[in-house]
């Protein structure tokens, strides 16, 4: 399957590859794990620190062609902007309109050795919830292939009509001895949903997601073999 690519050219320029139909992902080139630590490129990701290699996303709230995305030069922050991430409920509205999700897979490069990373994610949107109805913004976090799932949820009990901003802070402790520099995608399954009954109406949107990594330097280092 073809993917939209955000190409990284020596830390100097960013260019979009020609648009492709089923586009949900952007990636950095070249493989940063092979860069020398003495690289002189000022704005390039430091391979000794945790950084984002690529981001992919899909879901009922972010179907192909409805998302704009930006990855920062230092590969430690990203922004997704949504065109149609809206959940609504009310008389005559099907259940499927009442819950939208967008799962974001953040492929991170962890340096070898002990490291601790703060991953901060901001969710911005709008809620318009009638008295008696409930709107919810929730994100489930897990590493690819692992059953352990951590969730954070905020409920909006009507009457409520306003913008919202929710900040999630995750502490990621990585213990990696071999092979040197292991990747494992962190999955963020984001969703907004509404529960209504009778004549109640509710609307929840998610307009943007901003993620940022902050690396805490490792205490131990082990030579790669």
């Amino acid at each position: 399957m073809k993917k939209r690519a955000l190409t990284w050219l020596g830390g100097a320029a960013i260019a979009f590859a020609p648009a492709v139909s089923s586009a949900h992902s952007f990636e950095l080139f070249p493989d940063l794990s092979e860069m020398s630590a003495e690289s002189s490129l000022a704005s390039s990701p430091d391979p000794r620190e945790v950084h984002i290699k690529s981001i992919s996303y899909a879901g009922t709230g972010c179907p192909a062609g409805t998302v704009a995305n930006v990855l920062s030069d230092d590969a430690k922050a990203f922004t997704l902007l949504f065109d149609s991430y809206v959940a609504e409920g009310g008389p005559g509205i099907p259940l499927s309109a009442g819950r939208k999700n967008c799962q974001i897979a953040v492929d991170m490069k962890f340096p070898q050795g002990w490291s601790f990373t703060i991953f901060q994610v901001d969710y911005r949107g709008y809620a318009n919830v009638d008295f008696g109805a409930v709107g919810t913004q929730k994100t489930s976090y897990y590493f690819a292939g692992q059953p352990k799932t951590a969730s954070m949820q905020s409920n909006f009990r009507g009457p409520y009509t306003n913008d919202y901003r929710i900040r999630d802070s995750l502490g990621l402790a990585a213990t990696v001895w071999s092979p040197c520099g292991v990747n494992r995608a962190l999955n963020l399954n984001t969703q907004v949903r509404v529960i209504t009954s009778g004549r109640q109406q509710a609307l929840m949107t998610l307009d943007s997601v901003d993620g940022q990594l902050t690396h805490q330097y490792g205490l131990q280092w082990q030579r790669c073999r």
Partner: protein, 207 residues
């Protein structure tokens, strides 16, 4: 009313140590070659597939893997399926099996309605179908791990390697005025090389 502003915190631990077991391929030798998929729940352009750098895990994310039932909802929207085919590259002389695939999604099943998530992992002959049922009233996210028991491991044939097939489906049924919604948001598979993909040598006891 003031803008709602909320800060939530949690901690996740990533543990990626590799155990050093003998009698199995060296790390990095068994790899995921390619993931293919087809079905009403995963039409072309509605899926993103991610294979980890070490080619030991894969994730599929779905735009449209959603079923729904209720008054004024077309009957054909009550069932969808997606067949996933994982093409693995393995060193000669080894066979393998997969014991674990995770499904994550959401269910909103009203009283009187039922939802069901099914999957079936196999190489050639279909194994047992693993089913999870949601009986209304039920509103929540779900995570289902479909493991194949030790006795049921579909060992890949040594002489004629076949890709792993994962058949998945979701179905909802409702009666009267009740409504139901069931989604699959993602599917994660993991290989035993580190974790759940099991190896044995091709020996003389096999044909």
């Amino acid at each position: 009313m003031a803008t709602m502003s909320v800060i939530r915190m949690l901690q996740l631990t990533l543990f990626l140590g590799l155990s050093a077991q003998a009698d199995r391929p060296k790390p990095g030798e068994v790899r995921l070659n390619k993931i293919s998929y087809a079905g009403s729940g995963c039409p072309l352009g509605s899926v993103v597939d991610i294979i980890s750098d070490d080619e030991n895990t894969f994730t599929l994310l779905f735009d449209q893997y959603t079923v729904e039932a209720g008054p004024n909802v077309e009957v054909k929207r009550a069932k969808k399926e997606c067949r996933i085919i994982a093409d693995l590259r393995i060193p000669p002389g080894w066979s393998y099996t997969v014991a674990q695939v995770d499904f994550r999604g959401f269910a909103n099943i009203e009283k009187g309605a039922v939802g069901e998530q099914r999957s079936n992992l196999y190489f050639k002959d279909r194994g047992p179908v693993l089913k999870s049922e949601f009986t209304g009233p039920f509103v929540n996210d779900y995570m289902v791990r479909n493991s194949v028991g030790k006795e049921d491991h579909p060992w890949q044939n040594c002489k004629k390697p076949l890709p792993l097939t994962i058949d998945t489906a979701i179905i909802v049924r409702s009666g009267g005025k009740s409504r139901a919604l069931l989604t699959v948001d993602s599917t994660d598979g993991r290989l035993k090389q580190h974790y759940r993909l099991r190896f044995r040598r091709c020996g003389k006891q096999e044909e």
